[in-house]
């Protein structure tokens, strides 16, 4: 693929058509198009409205617990014996992951638009829990679509959603993972378009979702940038985040995109290796295509049929990725690397033992990459890893992998 010319800034996208270069767009059924245009209009008004900002800020502070800490991971740093490792502690947010940042923003949009019902898709259940949480807080009925495989492997989150009053609808199509949940959520949306707000959990889907999810998640990078300047007096050398759809990653990356000395690395799910089909590394092993409203890198066969993929981590088990990541990949600004299931599992255990923090399996992928590069770096260098969520939800999966009974 030809590399596009280097832009003056990497932070200006998308264009008016919702494109990041050739990626993004609005590939949806006509039924949804008027609604998406309305969402875009409401979003454009909201983002410059001081009242909207103030309400979101208030909720972020007092309800979600922001700002999240930037924590010097001394145990892991000592263990690895190289650069200093910092964790951006999104696991400490209310509901246990970065997903709440986006859900608070979008529920306020839903309110502005006068919608009566919330639907969401979820993989690991973190977004489902965050959606059910804000729906409970603002008094909306909420339906969460979740692949049947994920319902089984993320049962603690399923129960949390039910406690919060949401209806969890298992989806049995395909492998019963995030892709299938998203298809079903789109079918619900197209059917109930008049009164329903679709609260997309990742920085993907038709424009303006990739942009608005990114903007709501960019609080991660904005805080991290200010925090590292305060704590270390300089910018980091490397920042790392795991990429499924890519919302925690784009949230961390975006405020750093024009800091050209900061190396940015996104970690894809390498599953059981890139040789076969049991992985979700769409940017490392896929090619551009159109799915779920946007053009982006996808795992697909030569006939354009989408593959199911595999990851130990339900949150990364998606054959596509947000369109801005695809553009950042092709432009060369961000480097994307795969991490295998086994490597993530090792990082999960190590972090638990040397830091006393149980990371989500998604975040463990990012930590696993830090474990590879940090020992080769100088002691005065700095790496920030996005600890996007806590791992309580994953203990059953990990116990299974390790052959232990709970």
């Amino acid at each position: 693929m030809n590399k596009p010319a280097m832009p003056n800034s990497f932070r200006t996208g998308p264009d008016e058509q919702g494109m990041f270069g050739i990626f993004g767009g609005r590939f949806v059924a006509e039924t949804l198009m008027p609604l998406i245009l309305d969402l875009e209009e409401q979003w454009n008004k909201a983002k410059t409205d001081p009242e909207f900002k103030a309400e979101l800020q208030n909720l972020s502070t007092h309800y979600a617990g922001r700002p999240s800490k930037l924590y010097f991971a001394e145990g892991l740093t000592k263990h690895l014996g190289g650069a200093k490792v910092y964790f951006k502690r999104e696991d400490l947010n209310h509901t246990g992951s970065h997903k709440i940042n986006n859900c608070l923003g979008q529920i306020l949009l839903a309110k502005r638009m006068g919608k009566k019902r919330i639907i969401a898709e979820t993989g690991a259940g973190q977004h489902g829990v965050a959606s059910a949480t804000v729906a409970a807080r603002f008094g909306y009925p909420c339906v969460v679509y979740m692949g049947a495989t994920d319902v089984a492997r993320q049962s603690p989150n399923v129960f949390r959603m039910k406690l919060l009053g949401a209806e969890v609808r298992p989806v049995t199509a395909g492998h019963g993972t995030l892709k299938d949940a998203m298809n079903e959520a789109l079918r619900d949306w197209v059917t109930n378009v008049e009164d329903t707000y679709y609260l997309i959990g990742t920085a993907a889907g038709p424009h303006p979702y990739p942009e608005l999810v990114r903007d709501f998640q960019s609080v991660i990078g904005t805080e991290a940038r200010a925090q590292i300047l305060e704590q270390e007096g300089r910018l980091p050398d490397v920042i790392i985040a795991a990429v499924g759809g890519g919302s925690n990653a784009i949230g961390l990356f975006h405020p750093f995109l024009d800091d050209k000395d900061v190396r940015i690395i996104g970690i894809e799910a390498g599953g059981r290796g890139l040789d076969g089909v049991e992985h979700c590394a769409s940017m490392s092993a896929g090619k551009p295509g159109v799915l779920h409203g946007n053009r982006t890198y996808l795992l697909q066969n030569s006939d354009g049929q989408i593959l199911d993929g595999h990851s130990i981590s339900a949150g990364l088990d998606y054959p596509g990725v947000g369109p801005e990541h695809s553009w950042l990949r092709d432009s060369g600004r961000v480097q994307y690397e795969p991490i295998l299931d086994d490597e993530a599992l090792e990082a999960f255990q190590l972090t638990t033992r040397v830091e006393g923090i149980i990371p989500a399996l998604e975040s463990a992928h990012a930590i696993a990459h830090a474990m590879k590069i940090v020992p080769k770096m100088d002691k005065d260098q700095i790496v920030i890893v996005n600890l996007s969520g806590r791992g309580d939800k994953d203990v059953h999966t990990v116990a299974n992998m390790l052959g232990m009974e709970i």
């Binding site: 590939f27 006509e30 039924t31 008027p34 079918r187 197209v190 059917t191 008049e194 697909q300 049929q305």
Partner: protein, 279 residues
């Protein structure tokens, strides 16, 4: 522009009846059976054939068409084979219009220019691509019009008067009115509202308006056909195929015959539409 759709619509208008547009999934349950179904359609009373291109993730389709697509993919169907199916059909029928219907990704991966050249050579007259709204016209719609293939747009209950001109702008062949906000195979919407919507669209365009989504019986075809220029039936046909497949996909009766029986009944409904309306 291929003239088959225009010719067929003009002929039906002269006869004073709406078109029966039949959808089935290319390659369901296998290539040869699907080709036999396709060949049986015109004789049973189908005026225009919508040939479904299977896709792994059909986000606007209900369970019946999802399952049909999966059967076809399992049977080895590809976009290239769907084009070949049209071409095989054309060898024996040069008049019945064929419209390809599906999702964009397989076409994008095949390559838009190559696809349009091969579609034209295979005797394809029009395209319905669910996930390409007017905002994405540069992708396929404009190239298709340049290549002389009709691009048939979907209009829906959410397409208001302000938006209709944009939807109609690059549409040719006919306009496909989706009778409801929903997925294929849902229950039919209030027919009074549907006919009001058809009238509304007709006030914006001279193109024929065909109505689909939710039409399953001859009676429904008759009622919808009273105001529309065409009636599209899809899920009912796909179900007729599914009904003669056993649990392991084995055929318990001839799918082409099952489809022909259903379509003959629907054709009766469509043919009596205007008589009923005139009463």
């Amino acid at each position: 522009m291929t003239a088959r759709i225009d010719r067929r619509m003009a002929k039906l208008k002269a006869e004073g009846r709406p078109a029966l547009v039949t959808y089935f999934m290319g390659g369901d349950p296998d290539y040869d059976t699907a080709l036999a179904i396709m060949k049986a359609l015109p004789g049973a009373g189908s005026d225009i054939i919508e040939l479904g291109m299977p896709f792994s993730d059909p986000m606007a389709d209900g369970p019946a068409i999802q399952a049909a697509g999966l059967r076809a993919l399992k049977g080895g169907q590809t976009l290239a084979k769907t084009l070949k199916m049209a071409s095989d059909f054309r060898a024996g029928d040069d008049e019945t219009p064929i419209v390809l219907m599906g999702y964009y990704n397989p076409i994008y991966i095949y390559g838009v220019d190559r696809f349009l050249a091969d579609a034209k050579a295979s005797g394809i007259d029009g395209l319905i691509v669910v996930d390409l709204p007017p905002e994405m016209d540069e992708e396929l719609c404009i190239p298709a019009l340049k290549a002389g293939v009709n691009f048939i747009r979907l209009a829906t209950p959410t397409t208001d008067d302000k938006r209709l001109p944009k939807v109609l702008e690059n549409t040719s062949g006919f306009v496909y009115y989706v009778s409801m906000t929903g997925i294929t195979g849902s229950a039919l919407a209030d027919t009074t509202k549907v006919s009001a919507a058809v009238t509304r669209i007709k006030s914006h365009t001279a193109l024929p308006v065909c109505v689909g989504f939710g039409v399953k019986t001859a009676e429904q075809a008759r009622v919808i056909g009273a105001s529309a220029d065409g009636v599209v039936v899809g899920t009912a046909i796909v179900n007729a195929i599914a009904n003669v497949l056993g649990p392991k996909g084995e055929m318990t009766a001839d799918p082409a015959e099952a489809v022909a029986t259903l379509v003959s009944g629907l054709a009766q409904g469509v043919r009596s539409a205007r008589l009923a309306a005139a009463e």
